[in-house]
């Protein structure tokens, strides 16, 4: 498979959120604003790339029966690193994302890529796959966060363009489902045309 395909599949064809429906818990939980979505997406990208990298390096050294526990330990370590570093240097973002950072550990997307891709491919492909999937995830979260922020708070990346509040339902949980539903319709439409 050529590397460009490897990289770009994460954005449209196999977008983790809109097409594969992986990692929906943080998707719905943190996307109250575009900035939160982007922060969460980039944190996940880092974990995804690093765990893909490590898993693909040591894949031959891991006996099949204990591969899942090994992957989980590797992923959990990187998540904890992200959590500590974010807490130390980006305290305001950490406050917003809070609980959802440790939850990256159980994000099916990360384990799914380790298991389905990194453990079967070489290091280069694994990094590119992690990067593509991670950025696709970040893109989806930023778009969803942006839509919810525009409709719900009347601002984008924190810049307000209307007075007062927007349609508050979009900041609350039901708005996440509504916005996600419409975005999935849109992406499906695009994918149908290109397919």
């Amino acid at each position: 498979m050529n590397q460009w395909k490897n990289f770009s599949k994460g954005f449209f064809k196999d977008n983790p959120v809109f097409v594969l429906f992986l990692g929906l818990c943080p998707t719905l939980g943190v996307t109250t604003s575009a900035f939160n979505g982007l922060g969460m997406g980039l944190a996940t990208t880092f974990v995804l790339v690093m765990s893909n990298l490590v898993v693909s390096i040591i894949k031959s050294q891991i006996p099949d029966k204990v591969r899942i526990p090994s992957f989980i330990v590797i992923i959990a370590s990187f998540v904890t690193i992200v959590e500590l570093v974010m807490q130390a240097y980006l305290p305001s973002l950490f406050e917003q994302l809070g609980l959802f950072i440790p939850l990256i550990v159980v994000n099916c997307l990360v384990l799914g890529r380790s298991e389905a891709f990194a453990s079967k491919n070489n290091v280069g492909s694994a990094i590119i796959d992690g990067l593509g999937m991670g950025l696709g995830f970040a893109m989806a979260l930023t778009i969803l966060g942006g839509v919810r922020e525009i409709l719900g708070s009347g601002s984008i990346f924190g810049f307000k363009f209307i007075e007062g509040d927007g349609m508050l339902v979009f900041v609350l949980a039901p708005g996440a489902f509504i916005a996600l539903g419409y975005l999935i319709v849109l992406i499906n439409k695009i994918n149908q045309k290109t397919a």
């Binding site: 109250t32 006996p63 204990v66 330990v73 370590s77 500590l84 130390a88 609350l172």
Partner: protein, 192 residues
């Protein structure tokens, strides 16, 4: 390289190595970030204290003391100017919020008058209950300069003197509850 067999000894060694490396890496990162994390927490606390009490020149974080109330603890931060007490910031809580408990910081002058209040953390509804935050609405300003001795800390619906946030009576009640808890503790020996 051939895949390792899933023998007992192989599995044992692999998991041992993986966890060993992981814990070593985490220990290192933890040591590295310990300082900055403590510093940013302290800065946040100092900021909250600064907002709710008059100007001071001591370090309230270092002179703080605690008091157990209602199954939890309140923390007191005395603010002093030239060695004289100018106010006390009290970190207080309520369990009656619309979405569970929340924490606020109330600043009292030495005679018990409320100087200012800031919200530390909460999970109240965006657009409704979160109007108690200073950056969302002016609601909590009504407490400033009031002494709870002659200012009933209850919403007007319950016969008190506090105007509730529109459509967020529960949040307003919880807010009053937290302020009252801080005031009672402060008057009952929280003042030093």
């Amino acid at each position: 390289m051939a895949k390792k067999e899933s023998t007992f000894i192989n599995m044992l060694l692999t998991l041992f190595m993986v966890t060993l490396v992981a814990s070593a890496a985490l220990g290192y990162i933890y040591e590295l970030t310990k300082g900055p994390i403590a510093a940013s927490k302290l800065a946040k606390q100092n900021n909250a204290i600064k907002q709710v009490v008059p100007d001071f020149d001591n370090k309230p974080g270092e002179e703080s003391y605690k008091m157990g109330v209602d199954g939890d603890t309140l923390e007191f931060f005395p603010a002093k100017q030239n060695g004289e007490l100018v106010g006390t910031a009290v970190s207080t809580f309520t369990n009656k919020g619309f979405s569970g408990n929340f924490k606020i910081m109330v600043g009292f002058l030495p005679d018990g008058t409320i100087h200012n209040i800031s919200v530390l953390e909460h999970k109240e509804t965006p657009g409704l209950g979160d109007k108690m935050q200073k950056n969302k609405s002016e609601w909590s300003v009504q407490f400033n300069g009031k002494n709870p001795a002659d200012f009933e800390l209850k919403v007007t619906k319950d016969g008190g003197d506090v105007d509730a946030i529109t459509a967020s009576t529960i949040t307003s009640r919880a807010f009053c509850d937290a302020v009252e808890r801080a005031y009672n503790a402060y008057m009952e020996g929280g003042k030093k």
